[in-house]
């Protein structure tokens, strides 16, 4: 019994769904951000498995690009969270209703 690429894709789908559920349930901005990271990682695993299935190295190259973009996103996102926290002293997204009409 060998592991097929599809198994990795199934696992990645489960991880992606967990990340999406975390995005919907949690209100702490940091945890929501971590959920986004989890979803990105799940997609990375899909890329790798697909590259193995299709016998193409481009899947792994795509993973590296996603990692670079995710790193940039983390830096900017955390800076925004810190800036918001300095102003409002909260990391809960429910409190940030300043644009509500």
């Amino acid at each position: 019994m060998t592991v097929e690429p599809g198994w990795y894709m199934g696992l990645a789908a489960v991880l992606f769904a967990i990340g999406a559920a975390g995005m919907m349930t949690r209100r702490n901005a940091l945890i929501m951000f971590m959920s986004v990271e989890l979803m990105l990682n799940a997609v990375n695993l899909t890329f790798v498995a697909a590259g193995r299935q299709l016998e193409d190295l481009t899947g792994q190259v795509a993973v590296l690009f996603v990692m670079v973009v995710a790193a940039a996103e983390v830096v900017v996102g955390l800076a925004i969270i810190v800036a918001v926290f300095r102003r409002r002293a909260t990391a809960s997204v429910d409190e940030l209703a300043g644009l509500r009409g």
Partner: protein, 201 residues
């Protein structure tokens, strides 16, 4: 055979880490769960012969990104449990149901072939030489554009860190040495001066 053993062990670890990340009350525990998931994914990359991306996963994600997350968690001091009361009724139940539906939908879209199809022999070998050849041969321009993106992100972060406090000081018309507590947050209703602390008590 050995791949199956590793897949089962680290698959369970990855899902357990992800669930911990979503469910833990303490943000530090969440970060630790996410770290476990990322290490498990690095193991999967090695199993798929992605040596370079496994190393990058450990260094960049489990190392740098998670350290940054932990640093911010400590910095903004949310290492206390948040209260979990929801303002919307049935928010959590419907979120769990929607998450399950999403998982089922993705798995169904993949179909039964995912589980039964025989994969090809492993021919892709993501050594540093192979990946960099791909990078600098076919994907040179996107590679340079990501370098530009990193510079923009760094500059944006510096701008966010620098300009936010200055603007607030100018708005409140107090000297910069006056500290955060003295900042009265003029757009805030005076009825609840410190909403976060009051709720957590």
């Amino acid at each position: 055979m050995i791949e199956t053993i590793f897949f089962v062990i680290f698959g369970v670890a990855a899902i357990a880490g992800a669930l911990t990340m979503v469910w833990a009350r303490n943000p530090v525990h969440s970060a630790m769960g996410l770290m476990l998931t990322m290490f498990s994914l690095a193991v999967f990359y090695v199993l798929n012969l992605g040596h370079l991306i496994a190393a990058v996963q450990v260094i960049v994600y489990a190392g740098a990104v998670m350290t940054l997350f932990l640093f911010v968690i400590m910095l903004i001091g949310v290492d206390k449990a948040e209260d979990r009361s929801e303002s919307l009724p049935f928010q959590r139940q419907s979120a769990v149901i929607l998450g399950l539906a999403l998982a089922v939908a993705i798995l169904a879209a993949g179909g039964i072939g995912w589980w039964t199809d025989e994969g090809p022999e492993q021919t892709v070998n993501g050594t540093i030489e192979a990946v960099s050849e791909e990078f600098f041969d076919r994907w040179l321009l996107p590679f340079e554009v990501t370098a530009l993106l990193l510079i923009i992100a760094a500059a944006g972060t510096i701008a966010l860190a620098q300009f936010a406090p200055r603007r607030r000081d100018a708005a409140a018309d107090v000297p910069a040495a006056a500290g955060y507590e003295l900042e009265a947050q003029p757009d805030e209703a005076p009825a609840e001066p410190v909403p976060e602390l009051a709720e957590d008590a």
